[in-house]
Amino acid sequence: MSGALRIDVLKVHGFGHFSGYELELGPGLNLLYGPNEAGKSTLLAFLRGMLFGFEKRGRSESRYEPEAGAFGGELCVSSGAGPLVVRRVADRKGKAAVTVFSPEGHELLASRLDEALAHVSRELFCEVFAFSLDELSSFEQLVEEDGVSRALFAAGLRGARRLPEVEKHLEKRAGELFKVSGKNPELNQVLRQLEEIRGKLDALKDRPEQYFQERERLASLGRQQEEAVARQEQIARELGRLSRLEAALGELGELTRLRTELAVLPDLSAFPPGGEGRLEELLQRRTKARAEQSRVEELLSTGGAELARLSAASAVREREEGLRLVLGAFTARAELLRALPGRRAALEARRREVEQALGGLGLAVDAAGLLALELGAAARGTLESLADRLAKAEAERREAEVALGRARVERERIEASLARLQAERTKLPDVSAAELRQRQAALSRSRLLRVERDQVAAQRAEQQQRLQALRAQAEPEPGAAPAPWLVLLGAGMAVVGVGALALHSGAKEGALALFFALLLIVPLVLGYVRSVRSHQGNVEAHAARQRQRAQELARLQSALDTLTGRQLGLERELAAATSEAGVTPEASTAGLAGADAALAEALRQAERVEHLGREREAREAERDGVVREAQAAELAGRRADVQVRTLRAELAALLVARGFPKELSPQRALALWRDVAEQRQRLADLGADERALAADEAACEAAVSRLLEEAREAGLPAGPVEAVAARVASALEELKTRDAEARTLRARVDEWVGDRARFSRLRESEEQALAALLARGGCTTEETFRQRARQAEHFEALTRRVRELTWRIEAATGLEEPAAREAILEVGGEERLKEKLAQLRMQEPACAEHLKVLHTEYGSTRSQLERWEDDEELAALRIQEEQLKARAAELATRYATDRLALALLARARRRFEEEQQPRVIQLASEHFAALTAGRYRRVFLPAGGKRELRVSDARRDWSAEHLSRGTREQLYLAFRLAVIQDFGETRGALPLVVDDIL
């Protein structure tokens, strides 16, 4: 986008010594002049600052920040895209951000200013567009400085306006990727990581070689381990053997001693074991058997005497069976006997109570009569049925009476209503409503007819007027046709004239005159023909109009006739309608309205009369219905009355038959019935109870008399029946006890007899056993037996110990006694055995320790190998290495591309400059030639590496540094003007601000 900018107004809020200063600039050249320190250079700095930003703090000499008040200002500028207001005011931190507004005060994007400035860089603007005298010669340095130089040349490079930015961007991007001595750029980081990984990989050394070495070592360790295990086992075996021999040494010594002791004793191995104990036991058992036998004899003698005593005879024993029976009978009834007086008293009381209740009922029967009465369920059913039917009949009778009363009242109401209707009817006249409606219709029809008659009359008058007007429009006849004689006269006069002239002036003139005469006659004839044609047209038009008028007259006349006929017809209809309506045909509209109102009133009354008639008929029908209802109610009442009377008679008969008062109401009769039935039931129950009591009394009496009799016969003392019964019972109980005792004693005597025989056999067997024992011990007396038994015991203990020691030696050494003694001798005796043992005990732990070390080493080597066999670390490092290498390659490619792009740009620019000397240089040549008045012709940039400006006249060329200061300044001015011109033409004109340049 091309830019353009003109500064219209500058407002300084505060800058240098300016404060609240405002200056309006006109188009074209604006010259500001003033003495030294007036602020000309300050304004230059202000403009630069406003457009590109103020200098940063810390460079106070060029910052122009006032000591107090606002720092900044405003510019009103005109740009290609319209006017803009540029404001730049520093905040508290001294930063002065730019804000851009439209003249209306709307804030715009800050980039609008850059666009207006055609994206010119600050350096280029300050050095080319806004410079001071001091800076004029500094251009030389700037040409060499890359930034402005590039911008300068870019200004002339078509299609490469963004060249400086692109170069900067590429350099930045390449710098972000890699720097030779950098740390942070991405590629530097990747390379560093790669180096680290390489370091780690190198540290891991040659893994397979290590692996195979370690595998060899593992095999050797395995072999060593096997050897060590074998050695350890051997030591353990020897140690075990010798330890066992050592353990058996004590037993062997004791065994020798015991064998010596045994040699002095006789062989008592056949003596009965535990002989003395067995002897004592046998003696004791014999004594015990003897004592038991004598005790049983004694028991048998006392038992016989007791048995004789218990079996003695008595009177009670002889009658035992009879006594038991009568006592049983008495005992069974004893309870009943005691209850008899109470029961009788209670029965008496109940009888009295029933008789009282019966008397209270007020019946004409006693107890016996009551029991004879027939009060069964059938009779009671009959009574209940009668009561029901009676209640029903009475209810019907009441209903009929109520209905009758209601019918009477209703009838009275209807008759009153009828009387009222009649009274109203007599007040109304007798007129037919139909007739009145007919008259009303005729009246409205006559009104319509009158309106229509008036309309027809009006139409007729209008037609008559139109007829008369048509008749009055008489059109004059068209005039007569133009006469042809005038033409003939003209022609004749012409002929005469011509003839006269011919005679007078000769033939030639005559011929000429004839010619002119002919010229006159022709238009005359033509005019005549046209007027004749016009006249004929007028005559035809007139005739046509006359025909039309006659047709119109005929049409109007016939319409008038039709209207007259219609009027007459309407008059007739009107006369008929008015006579039907009962008014005169000439009656006025008001008269018609009055008649209409009277008819409406008469009609309303006639309709009321009709309504009353209908009402009366309805009331009469209602009255007939009520009369019928009253008759029916009366009939029903009579029927119910007859039934009530019949039922009452039936009830009375039923009650009298049961001794009930006959006047009782059915409900009362039913209640009394229930009471009587209840008392009769109680009476019957009482009779039954009395009979049961009498039976019980008789039975008790019999039992008592039999008991007393049996007691007396058994010799028991007499007395009250209860005491006698007790005595009988105790006598029987005593007898039973004695019998039981005798049975027990007899059984025990039998048992004692068996015991006596058993003990006798036992004693004999014990004595035999004792004899046999003494024989086995080889003794005749008990005392000698005891002595030998003690010797045998000692012999047994020694033998047992010898056996035990032999076993222990076998268990400890695994050898029999002689073999063990042999083995000890083989070792070299006891002392030597102990020495060897001590040696082996020292060797054993050392061997175990060695084996343990071998085990540990083997295990660690093995796990190390397993780790290497599935080595993730190395693989992971290699993956990372490859990853980083790939990344490095990619980044390096990108970096190389950027570097190549930069190199390419440089080459392209050089070539471009060489091939197409920039336009700026061409323009500079022109300006320089003009400034030096043709002394120098050309400014140019030599091809090649160094970017220096050279000037030449027609013959030779100089480097700028060889020119005088004045010429050099002219050269730089020319160059600036060239840039300004080129910039203005290609990208838009920017203001030129020069300070002290002249």
Binding site: L157, R158, G159, A160, R161, R162, L163, V166, H169, L170, F178, K179, V180, L187, L191, L194, E195, L201, L204, D206, R207, P208, E209, Y211, F212, R215, W868, E869, D870, D871, L874, A875, A876, R878, I879, E881, E882, Q883, K885, A886, A888, A889, A892, T893, Y895, A896, T897, D898, R899, L900, A901, A903, L904, L905, R907, A908, R909, R911, F912, E915
Partner: protein
Amino acid sequence: MRFKFVHAADLHLDTPFRGVPAGSGLTGAFQQATFRAFSRIVDVCLREHVAFLLLAGDLFDAKDRSVRARLALRRELDRLDVAGIQTFIVHGNHDPLSGDTGALGLPDSVKVFGADWEEVEVRREGRVLCRVQGISYPEAEMRENLSARFLRTGPDFTVGLLHANLGGVEGHANYAPCTVEELGARGLDYWALGHVHTRAEYTLAGGAVAVYPGNPQGRHVNEPGERGCVLVEVEEGRTWRRFVPVDRVRWHRLEVGLTGLGSLDGLVAAVTERVDASCPDELEGHAVRLTLTGRGPLHRELSRPEALGQLEADLREQLALRHPPVLLESLRDASLPELDLETVRLSGGFSGTLLAEAEALVADPEVLKALWAEDAELRTLGQRLRRLGVDVLEAPRPELVEQAGWQVVEQLHEEDAS
């Protein structure tokens, strides 16, 4: 007699994949891929009942120092040994004899050729089935034409097993250099070559063939497409060769044109479609480099800072969720601005001069070399990179000049476009 053998090379067991981030979910699949590819080669041998397996160098990479690689090699060769299938191995520049191969303890059926020429007879039922000749690299650098040491010794079918650069293929170090004619002159029937990672086959004089099977598993974006080994069937001295793919993860370089795409959503859809069409389901994973090409309005949008990176991250996340998963190695923008460079060139001005200058540089390698050498920073960076094993700046790259030219022109015109 009729027999079969399998020819594979450049296993590069356990070498890291380039462009696979260490922390990504696919790292495991990629790390195992070389092992699995080799395992599948062995499966092919077992299935086809081949007579022997040829491994033409670079079984692993000495610089990886991987123990796993050596153990895996032994494990797989043990399987062949059990099945009675012989294996012939020569070592190449990445696994020269000076390495640690001796300590591995390979089974008896494996023949590892030494640094001197040697020939081994393969016998079946007492008759010579085939002769296999081979030489291993004693050191990594082998500038001698080793093929010259090979020669036919008998009438039987003869195979030459060698790690060599036939015809000076670019992109691979020129080790054991040889030519088609030289190989043809040795009179062998089949040259089982290794070193060049792209599958290739050369017909030699007398009907013999020289075959590069390529590496069995692509490891970076410059090894795209299917990878595997060659199954060779021999009858009466004639061979029938069949390529058998064994790779489990596959690399792709996909281009997506911006032309006609108006929105990023449209671009994502186009990418998805392209990936769908190129990545078959039967593999365990894919790695993709996407390059945006053509001209279109999106070019400008994507040239915003971070825009491409953001799109790349989004796409990476989306593609990783597919089945099988797809790893986005990188998203590159090679699209052109809507600016018509031809018009710019023709319209002259500074941009025209610049483009002409770029063309001149591309056309004249000497000038470009001088320019490249002039830039001290570039030189320093190149040296530092070389020390770290990155040779990207070794030689001047004309395509970078071209690219730089477009970029600058585009930037110069940026304001006009805005």
